[in-house]
């Protein structure tokens, strides 16, 4: 009954209602989209770092991360790979070795990665970040994929021949010719400067590595809770050193924590700004009706009745406005999540703390983060309407009617 009157009342002044409704809807939509974009930047930075090659969890032989000794290995790599597979997470075994690469008169030191190309392709995105040429094929073919700066130092391009010299695991001198099949995009300073990625079988022949695996990188792409992933991998390779991306990428972890705090502060400021906008509109709309409310009082409406009417109207406005705003905000966020905003025209390669940011900025909508904007708008709307209504309710009808 009350709501029906309220609804009818609202459309007595369609323009005013439309403006108020629009303000609430716009504020709600802006809050939702801004939140989704900020969340998207964080998720994107993390996903870039982990999906690229680091993964969410890594296993190494105990002490490997300290001295990177060729002889410190993961003893049961197959067990770790199987444990990751059982959880539906991707995983890739890697071997690392230092060596010298040369092309014509130029030469440089490089860190060789012996990889399983098929696993790298499914578990990680590195294979998709090839700037020129292609990533390694599934069969060993003497190909090498180089970091961008390393390729530049050597003056090589796709198809160039590379002379490789390494000290093999048995102390002998390993040397082979490789063909550059691809050059990576900028993927972080260290890899840009040093990465020389080869098929694990080619690595084996070059380093006489005896099947040594130095790292198992596991990537669930956010589908498996991090603690579960860590626990299962640790159980599969009990003598290995198992770490999560938080420990492997401490700079990123710190940055994301800082970013999270900043996001709450910004959200709060946005909320206050949007709330004030809605309050202003509501106040104006209610003050405009002071004479009308005075007439109601003169006709015998109790103060409670007057305040109740106003409250009901503002609740209706807030609900309808926020529903419309949520619909628009969610739709826009989903669209931005799919298509993103291309920031590449604003600047070059964006990287921070060794983490490359995707130039396409995508929104990520987390359902529970919709609660804040919606509830915030309701509170702001109703509070803004109740204050003038309460004033009017106590007003002398004659003075209210004379109010200009």
């Amino acid at each position: 009954m009350l709501l029906r009157f309220a609804w009818r009342n609202l459309w007595r002044n369609g323009r005013r209602t439309a403006i108020t409704l629009g303000t609430v809807a716009l504020a709600t939509a802006v809050l939702i989209v801004a939140g989704a974009l900020m969340r998207g930047m964080m998720v994107g930075a993390l996903a870039n770092a982990t999906n690229l090659g680091v993964g969410e969890v890594q296993a190494h032989g105990a002490g490997y991360l300290v001295d990177r000794s060729f002889y410190t290995t993961v003893r049961a790599p197959e067990a770790a790979l199987a444990a990751a597979g059982a959880l539906g997470a991707g995983a890739a075994p890697r071997s690392y070795g230092f060596g010298l690469v040369a092309h014509e008169a130029r030469s440089a030191g490089a860190l060789f990665w012996g990889v399983d190309p098929a696993r790298e392709r499914t578990a990680f995105d590195l294979a998709r970040h090839v700037w020129h040429g292609t990533f390694l094929g599934d069969e060993p073919a003497g190909g090498v994929v180089l970091g961008k700066k390393l390729a530049h130092t050597l003056g090589v391009e796709v198809g160039s021949e590379l002379v490789v010299v390494v000290q093999a695991a048995d102390g002998s001198l390993g040397n082979e010719l490789f063909t550059v099949t691809g050059v990576l995009e900028a993927v972080g300073e260290t890899n840009d400067r040093s990465a020389a990625i080869v098929h694990r079988d080619d690595f084996e022949a070059l380093f006489v590595s005896g099947g040594r695996v130095h790292e198992i990188a596991v990537n669930g792409r956010g589908r498996v809770p991090l603690d579960v992933l860590e626990a299962r991998i640790a159980a599969a390779v009990p003598d290995a050193d198992v770490r999560t991306w938080r420990e492997l990428l401490p700079v990123l972890a710190d940055m994301l924590a800082l970013f999270d705090a900043a996001m709450w502060i910004f959200s709060g400021i946005f909320m206050v700004a949007a709330g004030l906008g809605v309050m202003n509109t509501m106040l104006m709309a209610t003050f405009e009706r002071i004479r009308e409310l005075g007439v109601q009082k003169a006709l015998g409406a109790t103060p409670l009745r007057v305040a109740g009417d106003v409250a009901a109207e503002s609740v209706l406005l807030a609900v309808v406005g926020s529903v419309v705003g949520t619909a628009v905000g969610v739709a826009l966020s989903v669209w931005l999540g799919r298509h993103g905003i291309d920031t590449s025209r604003l600047g070059g390669d964006l990287s921070f703390g060794g983490v490359a940011f995707d130039p396409v900025w995508r929104a990520v909508l987390v359902p529970r983060e919709l609660v804040g904007p919606i509830v915030g708008m309701w509170v702001a709307s109703v509070a803004a309407a109740l204050y003038p209504a309460a004033l009017v309710a106590r007003l002398d009808p004659v003075r209210a009617m004379q109010h200009v």
């Binding site: 010298l100 008169a105 440089a108 010299v165 000290q167 048995d170 002998s172 001198l173």
Partner: protein
């Protein structure tokens, strides 16, 4: 060619011992000033030119290998080392001209010039670095020195000379101690300390025999202080001094021969 940090040398002794260099032939060394002792050690393997064979045995925690080497030197600027055995490395060669190093890799038939970033990396898996091959200097010029011991030690008459780098000298050691036999000034041991005065490596000399018309310690062993179970041992099998070498001995073409 794994990096072996902390072993970058200025090690005149290493270079000269391995390669030989220009200098006066070893004199009778009657006078026993510290300078005479250092010069004698520096000049031991030097000649206008030299040619010889050596066996280098490298022992690490994970493997032991012996390489048969043939070497040629001319002056202090030029040297060529060729691996004769084992089969996997046969004909692999290192050419040094001035401060540049090239490696010839017969398996892929390519020659590569070593980048300066690889100077501190191990040479052929040994406890010598590429820098050991490139750097050449005289201890008496780069160091301030004094005789710190003269007398009997372990039943032998020895003289110990302690060297500290001159402030302007571009050497990486904080201290070098040279121990020689008092009788003929032949080296017994040279110890290298880093800038923090921690022992970095010890080189010992043994088995004096007559080679190339000189009495020389024919076995040299280097032991890194951070891995005392590891070592690189060089045994000189033959050496001749002051021979005439073909003009293109130290060319890239000869390297690939």
């Amino acid at each position: 060619m794994s990096a072996r940090p902390g072993r970058a040398p200025s090690g005149a002794t290493v270079v000269l011992a391995l390669l030989g260099c220009l200098g006066a032939p070893a004199g009778a060394a009657a006078a026993r000033s510290a300078r005479d002792i250092l010069d004698h050690v520096d000049d031991l393997f030097r000649g206008r030119s030299s040619h010889g064979r050596a066996a280098m045995t490298v022992t690490t925690a994970h493997w032991t290998r012996t390489l048969a080497l043939e070497f040629w030197t001319e002056g202090k600027e030029k040297s060529l080392i060729r691996i004769l055995a084992p089969q996997k490395e046969k004909d692999t060669a290192t050419l040094k001209v001035g401060n540049d190093l090239w490696n010839f890799l017969p398996k892929v038939k390519r020659t590569i010039k070593l980048p300066s970033s690889m100077l501190s990396a191990s040479w052929m898996g040994s406890h010598f670095t590429n820098d050991d091959l490139v750097k050449d200097s005289r201890m008496a010029e780069d160091y301030d020195f004094e005789i710190t011991f003269e007398g009997e030690r372990d039943g032998r008459g020895v003289i110990e000379v302690t060297c500290h780098p001159k402030p302007e000298a571009a050497v990486e050691w904080g201290k070098v101690v040279v121990l020689v036999r008092a009788a003929d000034l032949l080296p017994l041991a040279v110890t290298y300390h880093d800038e923090d005065m921690r022992l970095a490596r010890t080189m010992t000399y043994a088995d004096v025999r007559r080679l190339g018309g000189r009495d020389l310690p024919t076995v040299m062993t280097v032991v890194p202080a951070d891995a005392p179970a590891e070592s690189t041992r060089v045994v000189w099998e033959a050496i001749e001094f002051d021979l005439a070498l073909a003009g293109d001995t130290f060319s890239l073409r000869a390297l690939e021969r």
